[in-house]
């Protein structure tokens, strides 16, 4: 391959065995004994022996670390601590190119590829994009960095590249924070097409732990005051798959709350995570990929979680367009949707993850029933839709992320391979899906989406008082709320500050008679029959497509004052003209993962109440 322009002689490389490299790498690390780090306010060690012991534990103990996640396309791999070298923070700072254009840079490392954002039109692009990479002694060392020009005519044209052995880079003495490398022409290695500036350092393990603690804290720190209450702390511990009893949680909370102020700060939580995990594991499973962490040691737990959190926005874009680590660490939560966990996140659900409950009144049995929803999904939805940072992220790429995730999920669910998830789905919801009423046997469905939009046998849903068109019926198998007026709906259910009927229907369709109208909300859950029907007998006057976002329609978001799900989500508004109810607005609203809306009727078509009108399916 084409070596970098960095001055490292072969003899020097040859002269250093793997152990020597690692020992030099160790010297670059600022490893500190974390016991003393916490106890000494300044974070300094008091005991060199303890420091040595800590290093020894990092590099010599045989244990497990994970170099990727099972959820986001990275390859899950167990490695021993002997192989673990550290987390490298690679930053592509800027480049100097020979002509002006829009530029992006890619880093390929092992089987992963990441890319920066596209620069402005310039010959000196600046990216400052960072990516954390797991360095293993026997794993990939060489990062290939490629710089592409990108414009409308020639999209992503490779202009120059270089290859850097990160272990070598990290073990060389240098006073500079960054290095400059020549970019070689892909067709003629002798030609230099520009220079790229980058920096790379090994993250201090203590910093890894601390920054991880800060990230965890941010998940449940909805008001961003830097502290956790007992209830927030309990939700966090529960979401990490810990089943400890309530009194034990209180005990742990008190242990974490060193200054006894009833709140746990970042530092206190960092302390708890560093020490309690060794005595009695607090984190039993990874909230991102669901991997059981019980067998791994503390450091590797943190490494695993750090990398999983980092994966966040996917492995395509470095920092995913988000501005800070904290923002980027929210990325994984956007993927956690109640709609996706059967295919992509099933491990997380089945191994130790806790479930929360949503109470629903079952009209048929006249009983309150508890619907299970994974604890970490609730946690992530609260963090995204009920916190200020979640709100800010929506304007910084998160909307696009939700759209992209939904489109990807649609493609996946339309693939023949997705059909294998159907039995798993049916098993998971065996008490709620009645296969006897499904029109076709399971073998009939060639993709998951086909099953998702399954038809029912005629008569499976009896229509109430069919002969009377003055009685409206429920339009979908769903969880329903109804309000006589918008004011009631705002009082009891919809908390988005900007909700209005006009916003929901749009100016084109909204008439003054709807403004004080009655509102019925049918919320569909993943296991539900996904076709919707005419609630009233009438003629479809018109359809209006309203483009928009794909927020979740879970009550967590609907009940959030920050989020205006119904007026911002993608939807199709139709008007049904009836003899008994005047005009009825029928709005089909897409959501995360399930953003595809199909109508089976056209403008001018007449429908009897109970007739099929359309369906929702996976997609954007």
């Amino acid at each position: 391959g084409h070596g970098s322009s960095r001055d490292t002689s072969e003899s020097e490389r040859e002269g250093e065995g793997g152990s020597s490299r690692i020992s030099r790498l160790k010297q670059r690390l600022h490893v500190r004994g974390h016991h003393h780090d916490h106890e000494g306010a300044g974070g300094e060690d008091k005991d060199g022996g303890d420091r040595h012991h800590h290093r020894h534990r990092i590099f010599r103990r045989r244990s497990r670390a994970i170099s990727g996640t099972g959820s986001g396309g990275l390859h899950q791999k167990l490695i021993s601590a002997d192989d673990f070298a550290g987390i490298a923070r690679l930053t592509l700072v800027s480049a100097e190119m020979k002509f002006k254009d829009k530029w992006l840079a890619c880093v390929s490392f092992g089987e992963q590829t990441f890319r920066t954002e596209v620069s402005d039109h310039t010959d000196k692009p600046v990216w400052s994009s960072e990516k954390k990479l797991l360095l293993e002694r026997n794993g990939p060392h060489v990062a290939r960095i490629s710089v592409f020009e990108t414009n409308r005519i020639s999209r992503n044209n490779l202009v120059g590249f270089c290859e850097i052995d990160l272990i070598e880079y990290l073990t060389q003495d240098s006073d500079s924070d960054f290095e400059i490398f020549d970019l070689h022409d892909p067709s003629s290695p002798e030609l230099i097409e520009g220079k790229i500036s980058l920096s790379c350092s090994i993250e201090d393990p203590m910093e890894t732990e601390k920054s991880f603690a800060r990230r965890i804290l941010s998940i449940v720190d909805y008001n961003e005051d830097g502290h956790l209450s007992l209830s927030e702390f309990s939700a966090l511990i529960k979401a990490f798959g810990n089943q400890v009893a309530t009194d034990k949680k209180e005990e742990l909370f008190k242990a974490a709350d060193k200054n006894g102020d009833g709140l746990v700060s970042v530092d206190e939580l960092a302390y708890l995570l560093a020490f309690q995990q060794e005595k009695e594991p607090l984190m039993n499973c990874c909230p991102v990929c669901g991997e059981s962490l019980e067998l791994s040691d503390k450091l590797n737990t943190v490494v695993h979680l750090t990398l999983c959190f980092d994966e966040g926005t996917g492995n395509q874009v470095m920092t995913g367009g988000f501005l800070t680590d904290k923002q980027a660490s929210y990325g994984w939560m956007f993927k956690l949707s109640e709609w996706a966990h059967f295919a992509s996140y099933d491990v997380g659900l089945n191994f130790g993850a806790s479930a929360s409950h949503i109470l629903v009144f079952d009209r048929k049995t006249k009983r309150l029933v508890e619907e299970l929803i994974d604890g970490k999904i609730v946690l992530s939805m609260r963090a995204i839709y009920q916190s200020k940072i979640g709100l800010r992220l929506m304007d910084r790429g998160a909307k696009e992320l939700l759209q992209s995730i939904s489109e990807k999920q649609g493609k996946k669910m339309n693939s023949l391979e997705s059909a294998k998830d159907i039995p798993k789905f049916v098993e998971f919801f065996k008490d709620q899906i009645n296969l006897a009423e499904v029109k076709y046997p399971l073998e009939h469905f060639k993709t998951f989406n086909e099953f998702f939009i399954r038809e029912l046998k005629p008569g499976a849903r009896p229509i109430s008082v069919m002969e009377r068109d003055d009685i409206a019926i429920c339009a979908a198998d769903s969880r329903l709320t109804a309000f006589k007026s918008v004011q009631d709906s705002l009082r009891f259910w919809i908390k988005g500050r900007k909700f209005s009927i006009q916003g929901l229907l749009g100016n084109e369709i909204c008439s003054s008679t709807f403004l004080d109208g009655t509102l019925i909300i049918f919320r569909l859950a993943p296991q539900d029959y996904h076709r919707f029907h005419f609630p009233v007998t009438g003629t479809i006057e018109q359809f209006v497509n309203v483009p928009g976002c794909l927020y979740t329609v879970n009550p967590v978001a609907v009940n959030s004052e920050y989020c205006n799900v119904f007026t911002e989500n993608k939807r199709v508004v139709s008007i049904i003209s009836t003899a008994d109810f005047g005009k009825v607005a029928f709005v089909a609203i897409g959501a995360t993962m399930v953003g595809s809306i199909t109508f089976l009727k056209e403008e001018g078509d007449h429908g009897k109440k109970g007739d099929e009108l359309g369906y929702f399916s996976f997609g954007g």
Partner: protein
């Protein structure tokens, strides 16, 4: 995903149990075809007819 139906003002009388649950911020689990409510026009016409029937001659 969600479906929202908006009826014009004062045209439908929603079933009481649904309204009661909703007023407690509680969702009601329903199936396609279950009763949602009755058109007020018809009901008031019905009541008028009933009153007509009860009219003293």
């Amino acid at each position: 995903s969600t479906v929202i139906c908006v009826f014009e003002k004062d045209v439908i009388e929603i079933d009481e149990d649904i309204l009661a649950n909703s007023a407690r911020s509680l969702e009601t689990l329903v199936s396609v075809g279950m009763t949602l409510g009755v058109a007020k026009k018809k009901r008031s016409e019905g009541i008028s007819r009933d009153l007509e029937d009860c009219k003293l001659e």
